[in-house]
Symmetry: C2
Subunit: 427 residues, 2 copies
């Protein structure tokens, strides 16, 4: 096997270092490249200052085969990246009149004309080329020199992504820098901690010396990515190992790949040809929103009620006032009434509900802040479940959404045959 490509990313932008903006570019490019078997080796995040840009670029260019930069190509006065990198490379910038025409066209559609600050966006490296920007003015840049490749991408996400997928990836594949096929198998789990997952998978790791196993925890989920850097385990074998991992994980196995819990639930419901309605208080719409992030959600999701007051619980969901009086809005009883109410009022087969105190205020001695009750209404039965989280308001919201979806996923799988028969009987 040939020496693996050494890839380095440099993200330019003060805003990434002072907490104004998340570095989503690194995540995005990392995901795209590792899908084709080329992990990013390292990343630098750098200020928009000539001396820093020069140092960072020189280091990267010295030690890496492929350098990808993001940001610093825009029209505002703090963007000087193109010029500084050209200087560090010892390469001239040349005016590209075609780019000027493209920018003029783009601006004229928006009813604007070319401003002086657009002029510097029309330059490319001598001997290099431009990538077309479908969504903005600054083109991307590419230069191959001394057996190395430099790719420079604009900062705005909605400009960077289409440019990367439509022009950069195919170009890198064409030049043989990255592969054409996927290179790892991801096993998604939910319900176990990182070290418990590792314990469960120990036999696999012992059996396959060359297997690379990486873990990532996000809320209640742990992703396990199986790959083989030295190439001695092929994709087909990785898939067999992933199946063994699935077996070892039991009910805590969610899926292969990147499916969200919402998407897994969506697929189960589609297979049953059933509908879902949601009722939520403390998650405030986040559960419905997570579900409707799934393309095609409308095939199974009919609607959701965000009930932030008792009145709305009564009028929109038909929660009995007696339950609210006796048990309160944050109770297992209310959760079940909400789930059944959502299903009945919106004519769906399933109802899923969340009620609780997300904080920072609210709560009482028997149900402190972080107490969350879930309700589940299905053709084969009604259940409730209660948990308590520590953490801030947004944490509690996010965790409650994940728990609700994971709970429904388990219920759907556990009662699969019953639900299927119940579905068959009615349709």
């Amino acid at each position: 096997m040939s020496k693996p490509l050494s890839v380095e990313v440099i993200n330019f932008g003060d805003e990434l270092l002072v907490g104004i903006r998340q570095n989503t570019h690194l995540t995005y490019i990392g995901e795209q490249l590792s899908q084709y078997g080329v992990p990013i080796c390292r990343c630098q995040v750098i200020r928009d200052e000539a001396v820093e840009i020069r140092r960072a670029f020189r280091e990267a260019w010295e030690r890496s085969d492929l350098v990808i930069t993001t940001g610093g190509l825009g029209p505002t006065s703090d963007d000087m990246t193109r010029e500084t990198v050209a200087e560090a490379l010892g390469v001239d910038l040349v005016f590209e009149s075609e780019v000027e025409l493209t920018i003029k066209d783009r601006l004229s559609v928006l009813g604007r004309s070319l401003a002086p600050h657009h002029a510097k966006q029309c330059f490319r490296f001598q001997g290099g080329e431009c990538f077309h920007n479908e969504r903005g003015t600054a083109p991307g840049l590419i230069l191959a020199a001394a057996g190395k490749t430099l790719v420079m991408l604009p900062g705005p996400t909605h400009e960077l992504k289409p440019m990367f997928e439509n022009y950069v990836l195919p170009r890198l594949q064409r030049e043989g820098l990255i592969g054409e096929d996927e290179a790892y198998v991801q096993v998604r789990t939910c319900g176990l901690g990182e070290s418990s997952v590792e314990q469960l998978l120990k036999p696999l790791m012992a059996e396959h010396d060359a297997l690379d196993v990486a873990f990532c925890v996000h809320y209640s989920m742990v992703d396990v990515r199986l790959s083989c850097r030295d190439g001695s385990i092929c994709m087909q074998q990785l898939k067999v190992i992933a199946q063994e991992a699935r077996h070892l994980l039991g009910d805590d196995f969610v899926c292969f790949g990147h499916c969200s819990l919402a998407r897994v639930v969506y697929h189960e419901l589609r297979a049953l040809d059933r509908k879902l309605a949601i009722a939520e208080s403390c998650t405030g719409g986040a559960l419905s929103s997570e579900f409707t992030d799934v393309p095609g959600a409308s095939e199974v999701f009919v609607g959701g009620i965000v009930c932030y007051t008792n009145d709305v619980k009564v009028t929109q969901l038909g929660v009995p006032e007696s339950i609210l009086e006796q048990h309160g809005a944050v109770s297992p009883e209310c959760a079940i009434a909400m789930a059944s109410g959502a299903a009945e009022r919106m004519c769906s087969d399933y109802g899923l509900s969340v009620t609780g105190f997300a904080g920072p205020d609210g709560g009482n001695s028997s149900h402190p802040v972080g107490t969350i009750h879930f309700g589940y209404h299905s053709p084969v039965g009604v259940w409730c479940k209660s948990v308590r989280y520590t953490g801030g308001r947004l944490d509690v919201k996010a965790r409650a959404v994940q728990t609700a979806l994971d709970w429904m996923r388990r219920k759907l799988r556990k009662y699969k045959m019953e639900e299927f028969l119940s579905s068959e009987a009615e349709h």
Copy 2:
């Protein structure tokens, strides 16, 4: 003024480089430190490999005064950071029995006992100290040596944040490494592009040579952060300049600081002592969720209906079937009926609605994918507004949420006196 502190962050973790996880730690630490006038100078994101850890740490330690690392302190087999850094520093690791006791206590509450893989978490640098971990087993580490300071933090966000705020920040302030007071003013705008905002603020930048101005675009918002690195403009003067910026920006000024659009709307409604209900289709709960992210949202928000089918629009919101038949669910007429329906059905003063095609499917010749209609019901009138976005499903959802909130913010400010009088008349 003394030489500014040079701060470098190193984030350890393969998962950050292969697209499994966002590097939220950099954003968080950057925001925290820059609040006190100490921007991060640079950041490296590094693989969990001894050779990379050693190189990155040595470079950072050589050129920076304060090095903060995240990740690599956990119990799984790919965490070797503590050991490699100790070796690079030439400092021994010493066993800290107090940490072992704390971990034992923590685990016993969870009904678990100390496993061998926890042992390495009980070590600190010779001459250094530990930071208590309130939410996990791995303690943080600090070492002061050769006039420099090293801080090592655990990777999980819910462990890192309380440790940073409760122990690390106060410690750095006590040692005089960072200031006690805030150091910049952020001016948040909505509705203009980055270069238009810069054009508007040109006079201020021309007048104040030493003023540092950084821009950040997120969806429809542009944040402008005003600071002065050389210290020649004091905080009081920065606030005066920020007021001038506000004046220049007019209606496109949202707030000083980090308030979300939802929070600005929340404050306006609270001042009026009025209630809001939401009805949404294509945003699928995201608008309600954004609003309920605001702590105390329940003081003004009564509820939301996510209506993904025509039936739900009719039964839960009272949208007339004739409107759905004549104009369809994605129409200005339906948007208004949804806004008024939400307000009336849930007994609130204001109703805000969104209906449209988020994609990837749906849409027709007169209303293609990305077409969104908004409805606004208020005590002083009813309005609608239509826009069209390009981009994917999640982009369209996020943009529609921001547009709805910004539109409501502008309406509330424009009709402030009328709405106030209407509110006074009724209360």
